[in-house]
Structure formats: structure tokens, C-alpha cells
Subunit: 459 residues, 2 copies
């Protein structure tokens, strides 16, 4: 117990300093999807490398890729010690719509114990926990009982297109006994959560093209098929409004049903549908047959319109019959759906229904399979004990609706268990304005990571 106190005391003494460090990093707008922010991406990567050195890594590097660089770090304790690989990402989502933020997205601001900034929870703040855990071990005990590899990429928010190649090329350097990732959420405040399943994704842009140029809607309306209306109809055709199910032929072919045990366990989670609805500010939720909300979020695939653009969208009116219309569409996938096959099914469906006079082009942008871990693996159970110590509460086992593309790849390439130790909260606003991280979870996460190292070393 003396160790525990020592760790907690150290963390407690460093709170302000570590918050200041994190704020410095959050001020760098490392938006990976924005080609004009390549410089900021490099700055954010170099900032992290410095901090890995300061934390105690004996070896660090910023690996170039065809896209944004990857930050590597290695702390070696002993060859006999278990090795964990901490994965995370320093890139963040775009900040738009900027007008939705209460404080500027790249000026970190604390309100009511929450740190508000783009990247606070997704994922700079969460991954920084694992850097500070190593620092805590070295500051308090002079060494850490596990070897730690850091693999922090800059393209998670754009589907991790380049990290796979780098992982394959450096597979020897990345050999480990477990992967640990903090990039998910707790089920509820004060309820530490281990995530054992993630949905996959297929993301595309759909362009509908009609006449060769924009037309006057008075002079040509009635003769020309409107691409915006055609696109709207195609999008609407992807769901059966009676059942709420996705009506793309073949879409559900490979979906694996939930086990009765999972259904039972999820039924015991403290989920208040009415409060959830109120938090979202909606009068009703969506539906799909008889599936419950958690099943729909964690174990059922989705069809989602992420963006729409066509014609005149400014103030006032313009009587244009637009030449083109564009939609961004993503489908969240569950075991055993294959993203390529799902995209094939969508494309076939759209081609089948596209009206004469409209050309449809589908540009595939992201694809990742869903991931599911064995819930009773010793490493997951060790992580559960660490969380219980860090947060003084028994953890729950959950899935997540979102995805982390690299999790599936690391599973495939390294064949070791992954621990998803989520520190976000349900109202963390990842990918939206007012993204935030609970400071209590930040510090509790650092303690849990320290205890996880200890628990792993005991196995």
C-alpha cells in the first residue's frame, strides 16, 4: 500500500504542471484532414516526442509516412518484464462548426472540472495518461515493472491509411504482450469501463451529377432531373421506415447476433433512456425493430448521412437548379461485416435506383472491420483490477459504437490482447463542438495506468 500512496501523491503534486503541458499540446491544431495544417501536424508530433524523452523513454523517433508522421517511443525495463504497446493518436477532428464552441477549440479552457478543447478527449488527453504513467513510475520507484512501447499516429481521424505499412515494417520493434489504448468512453461518470468491442466502418462520398452546368430553375425546372432531389431520394431509399432497418440488399448478411449473456449484462448497465434522450435534446430516438438502444449502438450496423451539399446554401434565395449534389455517407459495421462487400452492396443499390439523367459516383474513403475481444482474457481482467484501484469502483464491460481502425490491424499483426481503457464521458462531445475531458478521469486514468503496469507484472 505504500506504493499506492506514493503514486497517488506524485500524481496529486503534478496536477497543475501536467495540465499545463497538455494545454500546450491542445493549442496545436493538429487536424489531419486539413491539408493546410501539415506544419501543425509535425509540430504536434515533435512536441510529443520531447515529452516521451522527458518521461523516460530511452529511444524515440518521429517516423515519416506517406501522410502524417508517427511518434515512436520505447522504455525498456528488463527483458524478462512484460511489454505493453500504448497506441493513440495526436491528430484531431476538424473544429467546425466553430460557432458552436463556447470557448475557442484550440484555447483549452477548464469549466466545472472539465477541460474543453478539440482533442481534449479524442485523443491527446487520453493518450497522455500513458506517458505520465511511465513518468510516475520513474519518479517514485526509479523504474517501471513493464517495458512500454508508444505508437502514436497522426491519421486516426482520417482512417489510419498509413500506420499499417509502418507497423508491418517495424513489426520487430513493436513486439509486445498486450496493447493498451485510451480512446473510448466510460459508460457513466464514476463507472470505469473496459471496452471489448468496436464497430467498423465504411465511409464514402456520393456525387450525383445531372446537367453540365447550374441552370435557372424557372427556365429549366420541369424538364431536367434535379440532382439534389435525386440524391435525396437515393439516400432515403437506404432505409425502410416501417422497420427502421437498412434496406440495402445484402446489408445484414454477415451480421453475427449478440450472445444471450451479453444481452443480459447490457440490461444491467445503468442506462436511462429518458435521460439519454433529454441529454441529446430529442423528443424521440430512432428505432430498428425491437432492438434496444445499447444493442443498436454497439451491436447493430448503421447508415448515416454525415454531410450534404448542393446548389445555393447562402443567406436568402437563389433559384438555381444545381448541376451536382454531394453526400458524405458512413456505415458503422459489426462482426462479421466486410467493409468492401458493404460498399459493393451500397453501390449496386444506388446504381439500381439512380434515375435516368443522373450519374452517380461513389468514392470510397475509409474501410475497417469491427473488432471483438475475449472478455475473460487474463490481461483484460488485470486491466479491470487496475481500473478498480484507480477509480475505487468496480468496472463494467462494454462495447463502443465508434471504431479505432488500428485495433483490428494490431490484433491481426501482433496477435495479442488489446485493453481499451476509456476515460471519456458520455457527454464528451468528441467530433463535435465543446469536446471535453473530465480532469478527474485524466488523473484517475494516470493512476489506473500505473496500477495496470503493476497488475501485468504480477501475471
Amino acid at each position: 500500500m505504500s506504493d499506492v500512496d506514493q503514486f497517488a501523491e506524485h500524481i496529486s503534486r503534478q496536477r497543475e504542471k501536467w495540465l499545463e503541458e497538455l494545454n500546450e499540446w491542445l493549442r496545436i491544431p493538429s487536424v489531419s484532414t486539413d491539408p493546410e495544417r501539415r506544419g501543425e501536424m509535425v509540430a504536434a508530433a515533435e512536441w510529443l516526442e520531447e515529452k516521451l524523452v522527458a518521461a523516460g523513454c530511452q529511444e524515440t523517433a518521429v517516423w515519416p509516412t506517406d501522410g502524417h508522421p508517427i511518434v515512436f517511443g520505447s522504455y525498456r525495463s528488463a527483458d524478462s518484464a512484460p511489454t505493453i504497446l500504448a497506441y493513440g493518436h495526436y491528430d484531431v477532428q476538424p473544429e467546425d462548426p466553430v460557432e458552436g464552441w463556447e470557448s475557442p477549440p484550440f484555447e483549452p479552457t477548464v469549466r466545472d472540472g472539465r477541460l474543453f478543447a478539440r482533442g481534449a478527449v479524442d485523443d491527446k488527453g487520453q493518450l497522455y495518461v500513458h506517458v505520465k504513467a511511465l513518468e510516475t513510475w520513474l519518479a517514485t520507484c526509479g523504474s517501471c515493472p513493464v517495458n512500454i512501447i508508444y505508437l502514436i499516429e497522426g491519421e486516426e481521424e482520417v482512417g489510419s491509411p498509413n500506420v499499417g505499412k509502418v507497423v508491418r515494417e517495424n513489426i520487430d520493434k513493436l513486439a509486445c504482450d498486450a496493447v493498451v489504448i485510451s480512446d473510448t468512453s466510460m459508460f457513466a461518470p464514476g463507472l470505469p469501463s473496459l471496452c471489448y468491442g468496436l464497430r467498423g466502418m465504411a465511409y464514402c462520398q456520393i456525387d450525383a451529377r445531372g446537367p453540365k452546368g447550374d441552370l435557372h430553375s424557372g427556365s429549366f425546372g420541369g424538364a431536367v432531373v434535379n440532382p439534389a432531389e435525386a440524391l435525396a431520394r437515393l439516400l432515403a431509399s437506404c432505409r425502410d421506415t416501417e422497420t427502421g432497418a437498412i434496406s440495402i440488399p445484402g446489408f445484414y448478411n454477415d451480421v453475427v447476433p449478440l450472445t444471450p449473456k451479453e444481452l443480459r449484462d447490457w440490461g444491467e448497465l445503468p442506462f436511462d433512456e429518458s435521460a439519454y434522450r433529454d441529454d441529446l435534446g430529442v423528443a424521440a430516438l430512432s428505432f430498428e425493430g425491437d432492438y434496444g438502444v445499447l444493442e443498436r449502438l454497439w451491436a447493430r450496423p448503421t447508415f448515416e448521412v454525415n454531410g450534404l451539399l448542393s446548389g445555393f446554401t447562402g443567406e436568402g434565395s437563389k433559384t438555381v437548379l444545381p448541376a451536382t449534389a454531394m453526400a458524405k455517407v458512413s456505415m458503422r459495421l459489426v462482426p462479421d461485416q466486410n467493409p468492401d462487400e458493404i460498399m459493393d452492396a451500397l453501390e449496386a443499390h444506388l446504381e439500381e435506383l439512380a434515375p435516368a439523367g443522373i450519374d452517380i459516383e461513389v468514392t470510397r474513403m475509409l474501410g475497417a472491420r469491427a473488432w471483438l475481444a475475449p472478455r475473460d482474457h487474463p490481461v483484460l481482467l488485470a486491466a479491470g483490477r487496475a481500473l478498480e484501484r484507480g477509480f475505487s469502483a468496480e468496472p463494467v464491460y462494454i462495447r463502443e459504437g465508434g471504431g479505432i481502425p488500428l485495433v483490428g490491424l494490431l490484433d491481426e499483426l501482433l496477435g495479442v490482447p488489446a485493453v481499451l481503457m476509456g476515460l471519456g464521458l458520455p457527454d464528451e462531445n468528441a467530433h463535435a463542438p465543446n469536446e471535453n475531458l473530465s480532469l478527474e478521469n485524466f488523473y484517475g486514468g494516470i493512476a489506473s495506468a500505473v496500477y495496470f503496469h503493476e497488475e501485468l507484472a504480477k501475471l
Copy 2:
């Protein structure tokens, strides 16, 4: 015939000078829908007032309104002479998408006998014809056989919200025997056309609102009704794809069918559907039951999506479940549809179909009834003879798919016939990039306006 030569010779000598003047005007970006261009609107109005003085008006004024100013001019010949009111508009459509222009929208450029600029045909170039017609009379004969009132507004492209009040307040100053407007198109090059019917319009913005903020499409997809998908479905629900007809209940209640004579006459117009399709660059046109293209364009109402905006629309991907989605929608109307009743019908339809979890708001923006003139009125026949002299070709009688909101109002308030002497061409690109005016039609239009004065004076 000596007069004719005199007019034609004068016009011929002034070609370069008048083109230079028009170019100067076209360089002023008088976009009425853009609040940042109020200064340019005033500059464009004052420019025109100067030219009315120079042309020979004894009285001119720039009348303020609650929106953009109206330019008034009056040339008095004799109390016994007939009086015409020339109406037009100096405001223009927004220039976007700017990247679609071959030469900049506000740098007038002549290519292949066409003048390319925003406002070239709609409507600065066309209305300027009537200014130069007065100047031609005074320069050649020292007087004009008709009194001319100019009423040139700055809000036609935003639905003429303020001109009605001004017309009512100045009804004594505007008393006339006929209205003349050049703001429509010739049916084909070399085929002078008199337009005796315009469609009306009901224009609105539809906002679909779901959750109170943008959400992560992974974390919330499957639980929340997507506003972009809901809006797409609502838009799609407004048409029956089997018949091509608009499926808003009550939409066609007041539509007056075409007369057999009009159908016959339209059948004789030189319309080549295949060439029309090729010009538009589409493999197929839209359809509505058995109606032909000209009927659909001129005598059938439409439902058109003019704009769509929701969520993420930039480069790349963003996995957002958007909080809102917006569409701009317009419906072209025919006799005897009432724009308010049509908007009521649309709103009722949307409210009926909106899914639980989505709020729909409809903001009405423009409303105008369709207009239809008696084709055999002596003033229209006089205009026909003038066009035949100006273009050395027999004119055709057509309708237009677009609308000119003031035409209906002047009809109601002044109770005099309106002559729509269109000088545009089918590929004029009004409201789109590369808007243009045929210079041959510009000069031929000035001659026709001069002859129209002569023909009117003879009645």
C-alpha cells in the same frame, strides 16, 4: 422608310460606345441578396439615373425603399401621346459558383458575339435597350412619339419585396397605357419572341433539426434520427416517381389546363428535344405523365431543390451525425395556383411525414402568382410588328418557365397590357456561370424598341 434607316444608322454608329457603357455598369457587382454589397447596389442605381438623364428623361429620381433603391425616370413627349412604362431590374444573381466562369463574372468579356458577365442578359443588358431606344429617337428625330416612364428596381432577384409599396405610393406618376419588359428569352436565335405567360413561385427554406448538437456518428449512430437523412426523405416524398408528378396533397387543385390552341401552336415551335438534351448534357430529361417538354416548362408547376447543406462538406471525411440539415426549395406555379396555399400544402405535407425526433421549420421566402396575358391585344400585336421590323423575322408567341414578380402586380395595379419582349437566348445561362447576351440581340432589341414606340403611336 427614311426613319428606319436613320434609326438603324444611329444604332450602328453607337455600337462600341453603348457596349462600353453597358460594360461599365456590368462591372458593378449589384448582387441584391448579398448584404455586403449594399454600396454596390446604390452605385448601380446612381449609374443608371445618370444615363436616364443623358438619354433625355426630364425627370429622374432614386427612390429609397426598405431594401435596395428604385430608379425612376420620365420622358414626356406630349399629353396626347401614349405612355409606356419600361420595367426592369439592375440587381443580379450571386456569381457563385465562381469557379464555373470562363471569364470573371464582373469583368465583361466578348467572345463569339456574346457579352459574358453576371447581369448581361438578366437584366442590365436587356433593360438598357429601352434607355438607348429613347436616346435614339431624340438623337435622330429630336423627340419620341410616346411618353416613357422607367421603373427599374433592385430586388427582382430576391422576389421584389419592396417595389409593390413604392408602386402603390407613386401610382399617379406610373399611370400608363402599356408596360414593356425585356427580361425573358427568344425561343431560338433569330426568332423574335413575345412572351405572354410567366410561372409564379413559392420559395422557402426547410430546416430539419435533431439533437441539440453535432454528434459522433460512431458513438450515437443507431440511436438518433439523422436530420440529413430525414430531410432527404421528406424531399423525396414530394414526388411520385412512377408518374413524375408532385405528390404534395392538393398541389394541383387549382391548375388550369392548356387550351387546345396553345398546345397546337407550341407543337409548331422549332423544338428539338434531342438537341435540347444534348445542350444540357443529360442522357434523359425528367417526365410528368404524358406532358411534353414545353408544357412541363411553361404550363406545369414544379418542385425543385435549389440547395442542400448539412454536416461535413469539406475535403476528406468527418464522422459526424449532424444536428441540423437545410434545404432551399422552390415551386414554380401556374394559373390559378396561389403561392400561400401551395406553401400551406407543402408545410402540412412535411409536418405529416416528419419523423419523431426531428423538428421541421419552413421559412417562406418568396411568393408570386403566375401571369397570363391575352395574346390578341392590340398592344401585343403592335409589339409583334416592331419585333418583326427589328429582327426581320416573324415573331412567335411563347410562355416562360421563370417569373418576374412585378408583372403580376403591375397587371393588378395598372390594369394595362404588358409586353414581354425577350432578348435572351436559350443558352444565356441566366442565374448560372457564364451568363451572356447576344450583341446582335442587344442592338436588334434597341431597334425593336424604337419601332415599338412608332407602332404604339399609330394605334
